[in-house]
């Protein structure tokens, strides 16, 4: 049995709250997901959404009208999030992301997402960006 929750958010900081409320609702619907998996999934998802927000702010500068379609799914194997937006391509190479030094005040977002879950994937697909966060369920 699989559960899917969907929403369209706006690429702005305030909508991180909406996303996290959505995640809380997902756990209510799927109480079987373990605490560690919940934590690492939410951490990675928040970082990827924040990256879309921050990157779209940096790239466009104008008011944040860009939409992000979010789909969260849970099945027996894994918890997964797919984020789709229609902004510029993200010119980032996820396989090369590393954690900055202790004294850095930024730059940890993508590295934390990659460290937290089993897979973070980015694809440019025609005019859209698709980010996929996959967390395999542990016992």
């Amino acid at each position: 049995m699989a559960t899917a929750h969907e929403a369209v958010l706006v690429a702005r900081p305030e909508d991180i709250e909406v996303l996290q409320d959505m995640v809380a609702a997902l756990w209510d619907a799927e109480p079987g997901v373990g605490g560690t998996d919940r934590t690492r999934f939410e951490m990675a998802l928040v970082e990827i959404f924040a990256n879309v927000v921050e990157h779209s702010e940096r790239a466009h500068g104008g008011p944040p009208v860009r939409r992000v379609a979010v789909t969260l799914t849970v099945d027996e194997e894994q918890v997964q999030a797919v984020l789709v937006d229609d902004g510029r391509p993200a010119a980032v190479d996820l396989s090369a992301v590393t954690m900055p030094d202790e004294d850095a005040t930024s730059g940890r977002g993508l590295a934390l997402a990659v460290a937290a879950v089993d897979d973070v994937d980015y694809q440019r697909d025609g005019d859209i960006n698709r980010w996929t966060v996959t967390c395999r369920r542990t016992a």
């Binding site: 996290q20 927000v53 004294d103 930024s106 934390l112």
Partner: protein, 109 residues
């Protein structure tokens, strides 16, 4: 969204308590609260994370920015009462050495 509470102990230690989620939304107010304490002469600051339900990389960045400000002024910033999520994030970002959690606010200094 996180609400940032600030007070000073009888021993002149600043205590900053972010309540709720500490993400991009609340990161700047947190740094500002620490900077304001240091500017007022309080450079030993404890961030009480006991009420912080979730922290992300922006929240960590704000803690590091606050830590730097405190050290510049001859003080320090320490964290207390981390939840399991905070402990996990500190480990994944290699920040558990520079931000070693204390069990209580009183033990921090």
């Amino acid at each position: 969204m996180s609400d940032i509470q600030v007070h000073r102990t009888d021993h002149g230690i600043g205590v900053v308590t972010p309540v709720g989620r500490l993400t991009m939304v609340a990161a700047k107010p947190l740094t500002e609260a620490v900077v304001a304490l240091v500017d007022q002469g309080t450079s030993k600051v404890v961030v009480d994370l006991g009420e912080t339900t979730f922290i992300d990389s922006s929240g960590l960045g704000a803690l590091i920015a606050g830590l730097k400000r405190c050290r510049q002024a001859g003080g320090d910033l320490r964290i207390a009462r981390p939840t399991e999520q905070v402990t996990t994030v500190l480990r994944l970002t290699n920040l558990d050495k520079v931000l070693t959690p204390r069990a209580t606010v009183d033990e921090a200094f």
